[in-house]
C-alpha cells in the first residue's frame, strides 16, 4: 500500500518528495516535504482510491541530535480500512523563533485541537489555524514541555515549583551527605544516581570529588605498598 501512496503523492503533488520508510519492526511511514503537507492531505482525502477521511492524531517528536522536529500525521480511512503515518520534518529552532507548517484545519476539523496540542507541547506553529492558542498548559506558560531540552521553571506565578520538602530532597541527598561525612566513602551505596535531577549539584560534585580523592589515595597507598613490596623482593 505504501509504495502506491508514494507514487500517487509524487504524481499528484509536485515537489512533495514522498519517500517510503520501510520498517522491519512496527509500522512503516511516508515522509514528505513539510511545505506540501496541506496539498498532500487534500489529495489523500479526495482520492477515491485511498479515501483518508479521518485524521487520527498528530504526533510531534523532538529529535534533538538531528536538530529537527518530526510531525507524524496519522491518517485513517474508515471506508478502505487502512491507516497511514505521514511524516514531515521541520527545523527545531531555538524555542523562540518557531518553525511554521501549514495547518490542515480546512481539510479535517479534528486537526484544530490536535494542532493546538502540538503547538502547546512542542512549539510548532501552524499557519492558517483559526484558534492558535495553548490548549493543555495555561496561556502564560513558558517553554515547550515535550521538547527534550525542556527545563522545569523554578517559579510559576510566584509559586515555587518543586519545593524541597515536597520532593523529599533531604532523603535523596542523604546518600551524598553520607559520602561526605563517613570515614570511608566507598562503603556507601544508594539507590540514587548521582545525576538525579533533584539532588543539589554542588553536593553531588563534592561527594563525587571526595570519593575520587579517597579512591585515588587508596590506590596510591596500594601502589606504594606494592612498590615497597617489590623493592623489598628485589632487595632480597
Amino acid at each position: 500500500m505504501h509504495s502506491e501512496i508514494v507514487e500517487f503523492l509524487n504524481a499528484e503533488v509536485s515537489g512533495c518528495n514522498a519517500v517510503y520508510n520501510a520498517a522491519e519492526v512496527g509500522d512503516s511511514s511516508i515522509t514528505i516535504a513539510s511545505t506540501h503537507i496541506k496539498s498532500a492531505c487534500i489529495a489523500l482525502k479526495n482520492s477515491s482510491k485511498f479515501n483518508m477521511n479521518v485524521l487520527q492524531c498528530i504526533t510531534a517528536t523532538d529529535y534533538i541530535e538531528e536538530d529537527e522536529i518530526e510531525l507524524s500525521y496519522i491518517l485513517a480511512s474508515f471506508i478502505e480500512n487502512t491507516e497511514l503515518i505521514l511524516k514531515v520534518r521541520v527545523p527545531r529552532g531555538d524555542g523562540v523563533t518557531l518553525s511554521v507548517v501549514d495547518s490542515v484545519c480546512d481539510v479535517w476539523k479534528s486537526a484544530n485541537y490536535l494542532e493546538r496540542e502540538c503547538y502547546d507541547m512542542m512549539g510548532v506553529k501552524f499557519e492558517g489555524h483559526p484558534d492558535h492558542r495553548r490548549i493543555l498548559c495555561p496561556d502564560d506558560w513558558q517553554g515547550w514541555p515535550l521538547r527534550k531540552d525542556y527545563v522545569v521553571q523554578e517559579k510559576y506565578l510566584d509559586m515555587t515549583v518543586n519545593p524541597p520538602e515536597k520532593i523529599n530532597q533531604a532523603d535523596i541527598e542523604l546518600f551524598a551527605k553520607m559520602r561526605l561525612d563517613l570515614e570511608d566513602p566507598t562503603l556507601v551505596t544508594g539507590s540514587w544516581k548521582d545525576d538525579h535531577a533533584w539532588i543539589d549539584q554542588d553536593l553531588t560534585a563534592k561527594a563525587a570529588g571526595r570519593l575520587a580523592e579517597f579512591k585515588a589515595a587508596k590506590k596510591a597507598k596500594a601502589d606504594a605498598e606494592k612498590a615497597k613490596a617489590s623493592s623489598e623482593e628485589k632487595g632480597e
Binding site: 519492526v25 511511514s29 504526533t59 474508515f78 479535517w108 490536535l114 515535550l146
Partner: protein, 377 residues
C-alpha cells in the same frame, strides 16, 4: 414595547463559565459559553485542568513502569488502557501471549467496558435529573470492581495486564461467580433500559438533541459510540480485530434513530447500553473457551523494544485509543503519544452547542461521555 426602545436595550451575549466544578461537566472541564437568555451562541471548551504530563513522564520510565500511568488516563476503563499499551509493546517485541492470558485479558476488557457503560448510564441519568438509576448502576458495577480487586489487588487502577500476559491467575470459583453474575446483569440492564431509556421524560430530553451527522463525525475524527451512534457500522473489534476478538461472535450496535434523528443523544445512549449485552456475549464465550495454561509469555527481564515505531489502536469504551510509540532501542521509549478519543470528542462540543438550550447542552456533554483524565492525560 416599541422597536425604538428595544434598540436601546443592552442585548449583548452573556458570557458564563460552566465548570470546572460543575457537576454536569464530568470532572474538571470548563466550558465558556456565550448565551442569549437560555440559548447558547458559542461554547469554547478549556482543557488542561487534569494535565499530568503523562507523555513526558513516559520518556523517563521503563516500559513496565508506564503501565500504572496508562491506568490513570481513563480511570473508568483502566483495563482497556493497559490492554492497548501492552498489545503495542508485544507487537514490537514479537512476544507470544499464552492463550489463557489472552482470554483473561479479553474478559477483563469486556467487563471493564460493561462497568464503564454502567457508569455512563448512571451519570447520564443524573445529568438529566434521575437519581436512582445511578445507584442501581453502581450496584452492578460494584460486583465487577470486586472481581477486579480480587484479581489485581486494586479497585480502579489495576496494573493487571502486563507485557507478555497478565499478573495474576483467575480461579474456577471466580469464573463461576462471573458466569452467575452475567445472567443477573443481563436482566438488570434490560430493566434499567426500560426504566430510563423508554421513559417519556428521558426521550423528551435526549431525542433530537445534539445531532451529529455522518460527515461531521468523520470530519472531527470521532470514534466509538459517537461514530456508531451516528449510524456508521465501525467497531475496531470487528473491522481490525486485535488480540483474539476475531474468535468471538457478537454484533455491532448502531444507532438507527429509533426515537428521533440518527445521531442524537438518545442514539448514543442506546449504543452504549446495548453494547453491554454484546459485551456479556463476549464474556460468556470467554468463559466457555478459557483453557488451562500459563498466564505469562516469555519476556526478557529488562524490556528493550527494538528501534522503530508503532501505532496501534484499540476499541475502548469511549472510542478508539491509539498508542504511537517511538522507540530508539533503549530501556525507555523515545516518545509515547496517546491518541485519546475523548480529546477529539471534546472538540465537537463547539460544533454541537450553538443554538442549544443550556439544559440540552448538559445532555450533550453527558452523551459524549468524556473522562477528563483521558482528555488531558
Amino acid at each position: 414595547m416599541d422597536i425604538k426602545n428595544q434598540e436601546k436595550l443592552h442585548t449583548d451575549l452573556l458570557t458564563m463559565n460552566m465548570g470546572p466544578q460543575h457537576p454536569a461537566t464530568h470532572g474538571v472541564l470548563r466550558v465558556e459559553i456565550k448565551t442569549d437568555s437560555e440559548i447558547i451562541a458559542e461554547a469554547i471548551p478549556h482543557l488542561g485542568y487534569l494535565h499530568r504530563c503523562k507523555e513526558k513522564h513516559s520518556e523517563n520510565l521503563d516500559y513496565r513502569g508506564i503501565i500504572p500511568y496508562t491506568d490513570r488516563m481513563d480511570y473508568l476503563a483502566a483495563m482497556n488502557m493497559e490492554h492497548g499499551y501492552c498489545l503495542a509493546i508485544e507487537k514490537m517485541l514479537g512476544t507470544e501471549v499464552p492463550k489463557r492470558a489472552e482470554y483473561i485479558r479479553v474478559m477483563m476488557a469486556e467487563m471493564q467496558r460493561i462497568a464503564s457503560h454502567l457508569m455512563f448510564f448512571g451519570t447520564y441519568a443524573i445529568d438529566l435529573g434521575a437519581f436512582s438509576p445511578f445507584l442501581y448502576a453502581f450496584q452492578d458495577r460494584e460486583f465487577i470492581l470486586r472481581i477486579f480487586e480480587e484479581l489485581s489487588g486494586a479497585r480502579l487502577l489495576y496494573n493487571y495486564i502486563w507485557v507478555g500476559g497478565v499478573w495474576n491467575d483467575i480461579n474456577d470459583s471466580q469464573l463461576k461467580r462471573i458466569e452467575k453474575f452475567m445472567v443477573e446483569l443481563e436482566e438488570n440492564v434490560k430493566k434499567y433500559h426500560s426504566l430510563v431509556g423508554e421513559n417519556a421524560i428521558f426521550i423528551g430530553r435526549t431525542a433530537n438533541v445534539g445531532v451529529l451527522t455522518k460527515d461531521q463525525v468523520y470530519d472531527y475524527g470521532a470514534t466509538g459510540p459517537m461514530l456508531r451512534g451516528s449510524g456508521i457500522d465501525w467497531d475496531l473489534r470487528k473491522t481490525r480485530p486485535y488480540s483474539i476478538y476475531e474468535e468471538f461472535d457478537f454484533n455491532t450496535v448502531v444507532g438507527v434513530g429509533a426515537k428521533g434523528t440518527v445521531g442524537d443523544c438518545w442514539d448514543r445512549y442506546y449504543v452504549r447500553v446495548f453494547e453491554i449485552f454484546e459485551s456479556i456475549k463476549i464474556v460468556r464465550q470467554c468463559l466457555d473457551g478459557i483453557e488451562e495454561g500459563p498466564i505469562m509469555g516469555k519476556v526478557p527481564k529488562v524490556l528493550k523494544v527494538p528501534k522503530g515505531e508503532i501505532y496501534l489502536r484499540t476499541e475502548c469504551p469511549r472510542g478508539e485509543l491509539g498508542y504511537h510509540i517511538i522507540s530508539d532501542g533503549t530501556k525507555t521509549p523515545y516518545r509515547v503519544k496517546v491518541k485519546s478519543s475523548c480529546f477529539t470528542h471534546v472538540s465537537m462540543l463547539g460544533e454541537m452547542a450553538p443554538g442549544q438550550m443550556i439544559a440540552d447542552f448538559v445532555a450533550t456533554i453527558g452523551s459524549i461521555d468524556i473522562v477528563l483524565g483521558e482528555v488531558d492525560r
